[in-house]
């Protein structure tokens, strides 16, 4: 290689490195610490984005968001937060369920807040130590393809007893709300009972796919009769005009599984003032109503003006009224995850 060409290449590489190192500094050097917020958000970006932009417009605080990229790609925001323990860059964690947040609390990563911040949220949905609070919930449901089978809860219950479940789908329970579902079952049945139930499903050939969205696709496209998923995925199929309907998953006690979003501030986070303002905003009636009226139809947990709720959510609230407390599930979460990791990876 001629030396002139080598010099040009070296110069180009130096410019790239220089830009990579100094441009971010130039862009952010004048930003006061109170006008910036770093948010890790596990809620779907298509729904969370408008809420975040609303907060920005209202407060003038710039929110830098890191979304979860779906089970296949994401290392999991919870795991990432644990790995960043030594130098947290995240201020607020908006989780799309509660069990991962409880894990962070156990790891000592969450800040304790003034109880007044969580005042609007009913006691069953918030941490007694004031480190996190739940809001805007989803339900675990059976999504049924109405072209392939009769659409009633009894038919689903009967189909689950059949010898073959090769037309029934569930997500791999290592992640997300299916893991929470398993943790609830672990609490209800005990780990031994859960293992028997899981083995029975696998023995009868239930289809395991990666993620609730894949379950929804299978049922919506008619590859499966029904599957276990969440209300937001079910509404995605319903809104797309697919021949589907849903019923809540009910435990033997008749209770439903309601999975709230949760929010928490990280201990030693870089922007605590902005973080507090965001948490207050997220737990407001305004946001719960906005999420209820979004495509995901999240169920408000705090008091709201019922007249502003869509019909779908009014129906969901009746199901959510029967929901089980997640305290027991939180206690069994680690035990269930450990067993599932061993079951799926041999570790």
């Amino acid at each position: 290689m001629p030396s002139s060409a080598a010099n040009k290449i070296t110069l180009a590489m130096a410019i790239v490195l220089g830009v990579a190192l100094f441009l971010p500094w130039l862009l952010h050097r004048n930003a006061p610490p109170d006008t910036l917020l770093v948010l890790y958000c596990a809620h779907d970006s298509v729904f969370a984005d408008s809420i975040i932009r609303q907060f920005e417009a209202k407060t003038g605080i710039t929110v830098q968001v890191r979304y979860d990229e779906e089970t296949n790609k994401s290392l999991g925001l919870t795991n990432l937060l644990i790995s960043e323990r030594a130098q947290p860059r995240c201020d607020v964690f908006w989780n799309n369920q509660t069990l991962g947040t409880i894990r962070l609390k156990r790891e000592g990563l969450l800040a304790t807040l003034d109880p007044a911040v969580f005042a609007r949220i009913p006691t069953p949905f918030k941490d007694p130590d004031h480190q996190w609070a739940g809001f805007a919930a989803r339900l675990r449901v059976y999504l049924v393809n109405t072209d392939r089978m009769p659409a009633s809860a009894d038919d689903v219950a009967a189909a689950l007893q059949a010898n073959s479940l090769s037309n029934v789908a569930i997500a791999v329970p290592l992640f997300g709300t299916t893991l929470s579902h398993y943790a609830v079952l672990g609490d209800q049945m005990g780990l031994a009972g859960l293992k028997v139930w899981h083995a029975s499903l696998r023995h009868r050939g239930m289809r395991e796919v990666r993620g609730n969205a894949a379950v929804k696709d299978l049922v919506a496209e008619g590859a499966c009769d029904f599957g276990f998923t969440d209300t937001d995925d079910a509404f995605a199929a319903i809104d797309a005009g697919k021949p589907v309907t849903m019923f809540p998953v009910r435990l033997e006690t008749g209770q439903t599984i309601c999975l709230p979003n949760s929010v928490a501030m990280l201990h030693n986070c870089p922007h605590p003032k902005a973080a507090l303002r965001f948490i207050e905003f997220l737990l407001s009636e305004e946001v719960e109503l906005a999420l209820a009226n979004s495509g995901s139809r999240q169920i408000p947990l705090g008091p709201v003006d019922h007249a502003q709720l869509p019909t779908d959510v009014v129906e969901l609230r009746k199901w959510a009224a029967d929901c089980i407390s997640l305290e027991g599930a939180a206690e069994h979460h680690d035990e269930v995850l450990k067993w599932l990791t061993s079951e799926y990876t041999g570790q």
Binding site: M1, E69, A237, T341, T345, G346
Partner: protein, 500 residues
Amino acid sequence: MTLNTSIICSLARSVIIASIAVWPVVMLGAGIEASRTIRARRWRFLLAVFPYFLPELLIGFNYRLTATLLTAGTSPLTAAICTEGLYGLLMLSRGMAVGVCLSMLLPRGNASAAALHAWVLLRHTMAAATWWAGWWRLKFFGAWQVPLVAWSVMALVTFQEFETAALLQIDRAPISWSVWLFDAHAGGLPLWDSLRLMVGPVLCELVILGPALYMLLLRPVADENGPVSNDGLNARSSAWKSVRYAALVTPGIVLFVLWPLMHNFLPIVRGGMLLLNKATLRQSLVEILTSTGFAVGATVMSLGIALRICAAFQSSPRAFGSRVFWISLLLPGLLGSLVLSLALLAMFQLPGLRGLYDTWLPLLLGQTMAVLPFAVAVGLLLTRVSDPAALHTAKLLAVSQESRIRRQMATLRWRLTTGRWLLGGLIVAHRCFWDVTVASILRPVQVEPVVTRLYNEMHYGRTEALLSLAILAALTPLAIAAAAMLLSRLATICTSRSSN
């Protein structure tokens, strides 16, 4: 399913696929060389390598539903066979594309058929062991060189694959160590334990790479090749080779182009309309430009390093240690995006480097290292398959008194120099742009590359939004590259005018 089981399955699959693919690769190469014109040859080459350049993400997404429909209502065993079969077919098409690319890039073997024939005539003049050693060497660095290197790389690409396997996976099939490792990590395995578990796959990859590494380390360098031979353009052109080429290239075109297009035509159209009407267009463009910026940066870095590696191998004979050093730079990229990204994540958590964790550097470094082996291949192609005589002629004619000739020669000069490098850069940048694994693990919180957004769209199963965004993401960098090429070409022509 243990890691060892998944490694054995992945290894078996990659060995089988590479061993099957190596034969069609040779035939496709012959079919390309049998083209009657340069233009036909280019088209044949593009069609054969096209499947490799389609993002794995989109292919996996497209065939996710196909896999589920194939397996609906079947027994677990049949379902596993169906998903493995579909995945194997997709990997075979990709592997063949990689193989063809390599067979066109790599120099022909140093030992000719005539040399081998002469050696055969010497069969009884020396000890059997000596003769066999020589015969082996002539074969290895002769006729077997390109197929062996192609086999290594095809097997490696198949062994490393993650996106498509993860997206197609139903009831744990197709079995893949990369998916297993991801699951174990996502299931709460500490990062350092995950890295420790990578020792097994890494050793397998080194074994797979054995033939290619042996070739690079021990290949005689004194007798370097010149430009690729054009012998195939005339005499060897035959209808049979063309028919065989068409038969072999068709499955890839059907699997990677026609079927996805047929299957998604309406959603693509609807999604396009949706995107045009949405206020999110601006945000999408920002994300696409962010990805483009990082891809361009990583391309400059990787091509810069690649050229130094190429120079090290093409100049005077180098010591074994020197070659090992240069090859060691390729290893992180050869080990795959997942392994590389996890290792870099761990590295930037270390006390001395922690301050750089949330900067642009980890992503830039990750993309650079991930694409480096590919950049070396492109660098080799650009530096070896050039025609110095044509370039010299163009330079001589550029001083012509006639302005028309000067303009034409300036254009030709541009094509032979800057244009080729820009095209090579575009190919490398394309790989960086679509690498979702590196982007999702190493990106700083301030930036959102478009690939991670696409993964979000995929999560919701919003086919229309996904496809429209994917098409916009695919077209925008191409438009930027086309504009850059046009400007660079005009600049060359203007410079030639002013200098005369």
